[in-house]
Symmetry: C2
Subunit: 189 residues, 2 copies
Amino acid sequence: MERESVAPGACYFYYPRLVCVVGVRDEARGTVNFAPVAWASPLSSDPPLFGVCLSPATHSHHLVLRTGEFTVSFLDRSQAELAQSLGRLSGRDVDKVAALGLALDLPESLETPSLAAAYVSAECLLRERHHLGDQTLFVGEVQVVHARAGVFDNEGVLRSDVLSPLLYLGSRRYVTVDATTVTQVEVPA
Amino acid sequence: MERESVAPGACYFYYPRLVCVVGVRDEARGTVNFAPVAWASPLSSDPPLFGVCLSPATHSHHLVLRTGEFTVSFLDRSQAELAQSLGRLSGRDVDKVAALGLALDLPESLETPSLAAAYVSAECLLRERHHLGDQTLFVGEVQVVHARAGVFDNEGVLRSDVLSPLLYLGSRRYVTVDATTVTQVEVPA
């Protein structure tokens, strides 16, 4: 390709990515802190591991170390402003649940609620953490997934004709998918 | 929300995700092996770290351990069949570059080519690896990014009006973004 070479920090080559809201109990304040991250990924099928990156400077980082668990909640495209607000506020200063009037879904397997506004969420038990550069990768074992009825098909695939997931593009910009472009690819054996 | 509880393995809650094609030199065969992964994430800004998950059963896993580096190449929506073919073939049996007639971009900083068909690629030097469940997370330090001219704006954000990135939905299904939905969110200070 005709291409330009750019420094790693000057190009968000890895976006768009799903907005993943990490929830952690703040026992001292009797609330739950929610922080959006885009640097998150499944890490293993068996056991089912999901990893989220948090900066050691964040309140969430401190809380995960205390409680040993977290939830991940995924939003739809109408909730970009909520995601941006959750990222802008710090749980060190503000109870985001109270400040933003967040409704919670109670956990089933662990003790940390997720966002009721989420179309899908998962409860994760902290198994490992790895310090990687300026972030910590928290590795959670997924205990159970909670999905809004009708949003995933019988193969477990997101029905983008029903639900438009919120993706982050970089620089406070968000986008969603185009459901009309879904294609199933079959290649010769 | 009105929700259903499902087992982690029964719901692809973490999709859609960008298709990331990992390239690794196969020195014994004098070729480069390319394998698509969706389980990949930035891990740190400073230093710029990018992680990709590979199963120990894969040929790519074996090769990364030998060469200590890899490239990541990102495709557009027209290349879903290429991604699926790269995933279906094993580099243990087949030289995918020859079998699929792949054009390569030569590296600039390291020694591993990327896919010429990519709209953006990055050269990564292996820094760490972590065994996590049934996968290994290979952590690469991004040395340089190569972007097709005009695809990223002057803030380094993907121009989805110009380029439709290939995202994986699960179960051999792919999708892209809807450029008309890009929104920039400003929230009160």
